[in-house]
């Protein structure tokens, strides 16, 4: 089957491995992800911080093209893009004046009918039933499932999982043999777009997340957002500097974890592109057997 696909800018560049793992995983489940043609950047944080109409127009164009291409469902792996697209759709569907204005800006008719799925929803809808039979290497690790801000909030608009102590990723990880831990920073912000402009803040916020997870015994942190991944992985030096410790727990995308459990190779899933090496302490590995 074919699903619409909006990779977003980071999946094409700094979070290439996420794109690789999403596409590889989809392929393993006979799903073809078809990119929205000529898609543009959704505007991410910058657009909504500086100009409301711009922040609505950029996602509207993406969704309008998807509608034109007949894509009923669009998979959006990046949580920030998922948030922007869904919020835009909601706002414009509730304000016909604004919708008309934005349609004018993007020079396209925009109806607001697409179904926007984040990567976890894609897994839940199209993969979870067949998952058990495909597992060849149960991924027996203790993990902290990190949802971040934009997958579950604002709940009224996204209507995904629940705001406090969400469980969807934990349930999926259990299915592949992992042991998700109960921890306190599941939905606390990693520092988001301050990666470059205020790396110190990312060090602090992401540091608290990594500290809580590893204090409670997590061997790895599972994410479903490239920004979170980048802050927890690429910015590990800032984290270590804040915590005054050297934490080696790797950060994996949920698609990578599932991919490993169904026998996809590390290369296919892009694990070599991480800054924090995806290795596990031999002692812990043994104890998991």
């Amino acid at each position: 089957m074919t699903l619409g696909f909006y990779p977003g800018c980071s999946l094409e560049g700094s979070s290439r491995e996420y794109s690789e793992s999403v596409i590889a995983l989809a392929k393993a489940f006979d799903i073809e992800l078809k990119q929205i043609p000529d898609w543009n950047c959704c505007g991410a944080t910058a657009a909504h911080n500086l100009n409301k109409e711009l922040s609505l127009s950029l996602p509207a164009r993406i969704l309008a093209i998807a509608e034109r291409e007949g894509m009923d469902e669009v998979v959006v792996p990046c949580a920030a893009c998922y948030s922007r697209l869904t919020v835009t759709q909601h706002e414009l569907n509730h304000d016909s004046e604004l919708k008309k204005k934005v349609s004018g800006h993007i020079e396209m008719e925009y109806k607001g009918t697409s179904s926007i799925l984040n990567v976890i929803q894609m897994i839940e809808k199209y993969m979870i039933d067949k998952l058990e039979n495909k597992i060849t290497n149960p991924w027996k690790h203790k993990v902290a499932c990190y949802y971040g801000c934009l997958l579950v909030r604002p709940h009224d608009i996204l209507q995904f999982d629940r705001v406090e102590n969400p469980q969807t990723m934990d349930i999926i990880l259990k299915k592949i043999g992992a042991i998700p831990i109960d921890w306190a920073f599941k939905t606390e912000c990693c520092g988001a777009g301050f990666s470059v402009s205020r790396t110190d803040i990312v060090g602090k916020l992401s540091g608290n997340i990594v500290a809580d997870a590893t204090d409670r015994g997590a061997e790895a942190i599972i994410v479903a957002c490239p920004m979170c991944h980048s802050n927890l992985d690429m910015r590990r030096p800032a984290i270590n500097s804040y915590l005054k410790k050297n934490i080696t727990a790797p950060v994996l995308y949920i698609t990578q974890a599932i991919g490993l459990s169904i026998g996809l190779s590390e290369k296919e899933l892009g694990l070599q592109r991480h800054f924090v090496p995806v290795t596990f302490n031999k002692i812990e590995e043994l104890s998991n057997k």
Binding site: R162, V163, E164, N165, A184, D212, D215
Partner: protein, 666 residues
């Protein structure tokens, strides 16, 4: 030959400033059937009433119309005046010239003409009025009190002390309610059970009170003064007459780990149990859901050890019917549990508890014998956080109201903690401090100034557990909203007060109104706090809204006063403006064909079947009959009746049509 007297009131300037009252009186005086028409400054005054009385005698009036204010104001006044002059009061009616005309229109001819029209319509109606007599219904001088908490107990005692009978029913095995669960009460720090249990014993021993515990209301029929209640006495599985309350059965019962409701889940009880040592009656009941015998057919140890052979495993529920004249709703309230709060852990942290659970910890007869201990590991909490407004004043959680008592009991809890854990540190996160009662403000200041409880103004965003401690993330808004993080050993949430489970079903059984939070509705928020809109049913205590003990007791005593007034008469008078099915001579008996469409329409269930029999007892026909005690005169049945066999006395079809025609035939 009609001789109607018409009296138009100036009402000072209220009517006369807009309506030309002299012109109205003159115009009406010209109408056929009007024997006397005049106007006067204040009809409701003594001289005004005297005018009516004299006119009735002088002019031999057959009907009286007073064009003045709303009948809701002075209809009883003028009707009484007429009765005093020998005219049937239901031949007197009022035309509302004030609220309906002078207060809503500008001065002018159109307004005066409207006044004339309105009075003219009424003249035609009153020509067709019949004398009516008030309906008298007997009063059963027994009150049914539903709920055995402090409000129910107080109401029962007060009513019983007036010499009237009381039946008190309580759904739990013992009376006492939430007050029996408290450790000490604010603002005096009296031991709650010490002040409550004497009253509980008094209830049990009072000759005028019949107490049924483990009992609920099954159904209710009837009307004020004449209710018929069916009470379900749930099977206690013991013979109360034989049981001595020795307690051997509870000692020997092998299932000891059932979470105790009385201890709010912090302690355990057995399957056969007495909820607490001071229970009234001090006789056990068997929890059939958890008892081994009912689950597997084995055990029966209690039966074996009972010295008086009082165990009755097969005892059925018993339904008893009682006749009562008034009902008191005193079913109390409950508080939200910790699982109501997603941001505080969905109830999974053992050391995050509710205020009521803290009461059980602080109670000398509680699961920890009065020592403050963490439910998780039994250790003493060195740092404790109290979260006020947990769920209350929170529209996002669906509870926008204030639960009233939490500010006070939180201060009390903090004080108790400081007294019991020397050197302990307590924090209260609050939004406001509501301490309006007598000595309440001083009580809270004591907590802050003498017991050094740390009050921080700000709500708690989230609570999570780390390394055996509870991390509380709040804020201090008085310092500008700075985040305040506390590592606590225990957290007490002052959870919102909500209606008792089952309130909605009970209200529907009694036809009593309730609000969107399922608290019972008082008849008037200011002036009728203890009555409901259903005549004969009264409210006492927290079932109407969260409130503290003094207010509950005051309401209960107030209800007793109302009921004493009700029971002081042998008969109750009701307005005869009710529906009546026509009756005529045989062989017709009535134009009613017995379709009973009216019965399906009646919202008050006031229509019954009447069988007309011949002398041998054979039924000739079944027709509808209106119960004069229940009928409220709403007229729905009249609209439904297909051949107009039912009509409202005082507002007949003929009278209504006459009024309309009078208006149209100008």
């Amino acid at each position: 030959m009609a001789r109607i007297g018409v009296f138009i009131c100036h009402c000072g300037e209220n009517i006369s400033a807009t309506v030309d009252v002299v012109k109205v009186a003159e115009a009406i005086g010209q109408l056929e059937g009007v024997a006397y028409s005049t106007e006067y400054k204040y009809m409701c005054s003594d001289p005004g009433q005297g005018l009516i009385r004299q006119a009735i005698i002088d002019h031999k009036l057959t009907g009286v119309i007073v064009g003045a204010c709303s009948p809701r104001m002075h209809e009883p006044t003028f009707r009484k005046a007429c009765a005093e002059a020998g005219l049937n009061p239901f031949l007197c009616e009022m035309a509302n010239l004030r609220e309906h005309i002078s207060w809503v229109h500008e001065k002018g001819d159109a307004t005066t003409n409207k006044a004339i029209d309105v009075v003219r319509m009424l003249v035609e109606k009153v020509k067709r009025n019949h004398p009516l007599t008030s309906i008298k219904v007997p009063v059963t001088k027994t009150a049914l009190v539903i709920g055995g908490g402090i409000a129910g107990i107080q109401a029962s005692l007060d009513i019983a002390n007036t010499g009237n009978q009381v039946i008190l029913i309580e759904k739990d095995p013992s009376i006492g309610g939430h007050m029996s669960q408290l450790s000490e009460t604010f603002p005096t720090l009296d031991c709650s059970q010490c002040i409550l249990t004497p009253r509980m014993v008094e209830v049990a021993q009072h000759p005028n009170i019949t107490l049924y515990t483990y009992a609920e209301l099954e159904s209710l029929d009837g009307f004020i003064g004449n209710f018929k209640a069916r009470i379900r006495k749930k099977a206690k599985s013991i013979d109360e007459k034989l049981c001595t309350g020795c307690g051997t059965c509870t000692l020997k019962c092998p299932t000891k780990k059932i979470p105790s409701e009385f201890n709010e889940g912090l302690g355990n009880r057995t399957s056969i149990y007495v909820p607490f040592p001071q229970a009234v009656p001090n006789k056990p009941v068997i929890d059939r859901i958890n008892c081994t015998y009912y689950k597997t057919g084995k055990c029966k140890i209690c039966e074996k050890v009972c010295p008086t052979k009082a165990i009755r495993f097969d005892q059925p529920d018993e339904i008893i019917e009682v006749a009562v004249g008034a009902i008191v709703l005193a079913t109390g309230f409950t508080v939200k549990n910790t699982d109501f709060f997603p941001e505080y852990g969905y109830g999974k942290y053992k050391d995050v508890i509710t205020g009521l659970q803290f009461e059980r910890l602080a109670s000398a007869s509680g699961p920890t014998l009065g020592e403050i201990k963490r439910p998780s590991d039994g250790k003493k909490p060195e740092t404790i956080v109290f979260v006020a407004c947990a769920g209350s004043r929170d529209p996002a959680k669906g509870i926008p109201y204030c639960s009233k008592i939490c500010c006070m009991y939180t201060a009390k809890h903090a004080m108790l903690y400081q007294h019991k854990v020397h050197g302990g540190k307590s924090y209260v996160f609050y939004m406001d401090i509501r301490a309006g009662g007598k000595n309440y403000e001083e009580f809270v200041r004591r907590a802050i100034e003498e017991d050094e409880v740390n009050y921080v103004r700000g709500r708690v965003s989230t609570i999570y557990e780390k390394n055996g401690k509870l991390i509380v993330k709040g804020a201090d808004t008085l310092l500008g909203g700075v985040p305040v993080e506390i590592e606590a050993d225990m957290v007490v949430l002052a959870t919102a007060g909500v209606s008792s489970p089952g309130s909605e079903e009970l209200a529907q059984k009694l036809h009593v109104s309730y609000d969107s939070y399922k608290f019972f509705a008082e008849a008037h928020p200011k002036l009728k706090p203890v009555e409901t809109n259903t005549a004969g049913i009264f409210l006492a205590g927290a079932c109407q809204a969260p409130k503290d003990i003094p207010e509950s007791v005051a309401m209960a005593s107030g209800v007793a006063g109302k009921i004493a007034g009700l029971f002081s008469q042998n008969e109750l008078s009701r307005e005869p403006l009710i529906a009546v099915v026509n009756r005529s001579a045989p062989p017709v008996y009535s134009t009613c064909v017995g379709c009973f469409l009216c019965q399906t329409a009646c919202p008050y269930l006031a229509i019954e079947k009447e069988e007309i029999k011949d002398r041998t007892g054979k039924i000739i026909k079944s027709i509808a009959k209106v119960n004069p005690g229940l009928c409220q005169g709403c007229g729905t049945c009249v609209a439904f009746c297909r051949n107009k066999s039912i009509d409202i006395q005082g507002y007949t079809n003929e009278q209504m049509y006459t009024e309309v025609l009078a208006l149209l035939n100008d």
